[in-house]
């Protein structure tokens, strides 16, 4: 009885500990389980909704060996983590908002891309993106957005064909992404 009374009288301590543990692991878990940029592909989708976990799992089935993690984020996520927006490897943006992130895109060299006859998105005479054909599963860009474009990040370390970085993992993942059923 004394023990129960004591626990009740110190309930605030037990509740506070639960809050501290949740906040602590909220940060630390993400840090420990995260991978460095060299082993991770970040996808930014300017979509209303995205089934991020299912998409990550699906893409990780065919990921290159050098990649440990694939992480898809929507705009909501990047409000809390700007790096997810600025340092994404792959951008999926509706045509109406494509110009909003122009500084984040890497110029394309269409001849070195695995997509043939893709419709390009250009800005001031330079090709930056390509139009994706058909509906993309796992994403909801909104009913009024019919055209979705694919871009590669200017800071990506996985676009060797575009900027001479370490590997072409982002291109491979983007190709798999564009062919998801």
């Amino acid at each position: 009885m004394r023990i129960l009374k004591n626990i009740v009288s110190r309930l605030h301590t037990y509740v506070l500990w639960a809050l501290i543990a949740a906040v602590f692991w909220g940060f630390i878990f993400g840090i420990i389980t995260d991978a460095p940029a060299e082993k991770k592909i970040v996808i930014f989708a300017d979509a209303l909704r995205c089934e991020e976990k299912d998409l990550d799992i699906e893409l990780e089935k065919t990921k290159p060996d050098s990649i440990r993690l694939i992480r898809a984020h929507t705009f909501d996520y990047t409000m809390f983590d700007e790096a997810g927006l600025l340092n994404a490897d792959i951008y999926l943006v509706p045509g109406s908002r494509a110009a909003d992130y122009i500084e984040s895109y890497s110029p394309l060299n269409p001849s070195r891309l695995p997509w043939k006859d893709a419709e390009l998105w250009s800005w001031e005479g330079t090709a930056y993106g390509l139009k994706l054909q058909g509906a993309l599963p796992y994403f909801d860009f909104g009913a009024e957005e019919s055209d979705v474009y694919l871009f590669f990040g200017v800071n990506s370390v996985h676009t060797a064909s575009l900027n001479g970085s370490a590997d072409d993992a982002a291109l491979q993942v983007a190709y798999d992404l564009s062919h998801l059923k």
Binding site: I7, A22, F29
Partner: protein
């Protein structure tokens, strides 16, 4: 030839010899217990943390959510258990040690008379439990206290006792 009384501990002790509530050996025993308990709590906390970090390294995209909830649940449960043990084992022992040292170091007042130990167990906030002891001598009544763990021993020693009292607590006693 002093009177002797058979003790539970298996040795004989003269009944009219002064008996300290806490001997120097008891203080050492309490100090060692605090070190042992504190070490056990720290090691347990480190083991829980290590287990959680291990779970983090076993995480993949498919089980990430479940692992995060597991890690939080393990940390919360282990933390509650350690808080409980800290309060009911470590702090109790620390308070008892403080009390024992106080009894040893303080100046003692000597009271002689008929001793009655109350049945009611009392506890001041953040302190050890104790019982009231009433000493009647030459028509005067004095009330002192004895730590709960030693009250039964005091009761067993008889009614007519000489008490050595430090700061209102019985520090030692002797049968008259």
């Amino acid at each position: 030839m002093p009177l002797v009384k058979k003790r539970d501990r298996g040795y004989n002790e003269p009944m009219n010899e002064r008996k300290d509530i806490y001997s120097a050996a008891d203080i050492v025993r309490l100090e060692k217990r605090i070190i042992r308990v504190r070490s056990a709590l720290l090691l347990s906390a480190a083991a829980v943390l290590a287990f959680c970090v291990l779970l983090c390294f076993r995480t993949n995209t498919a089980n990430a959510e479940r692992m995060e909830y597991t890690v939080i649940a393990v940390t919360v449960a282990a933390g509650w258990l350690l808080l409980y043990l800290r309060r009911f084992v470590l702090l109790e022992t620390r308070w008892e040690l403080g009390h024992a040292k106080m009894l040893h170091e303080s100046e003692k007042e000597i009271l002689r008379g008929t001793v009655t130990v109350s049945a009611e167990k009392l506890r001041i906030l953040n302190s050890i439990p104790f019982r009231h002891v009433t000493v009647e001598t030459e028509g005067k009544t004095r009330r002192v206290n004895v730590i709960e763990g030693k009250a039964a021993e005091l009761e067993r020693s008889g009614k007519e006792l000489e008490l050595f009292v430090a700061n209102g607590y019985v520090a030692a006693f002797r049968k008259i």
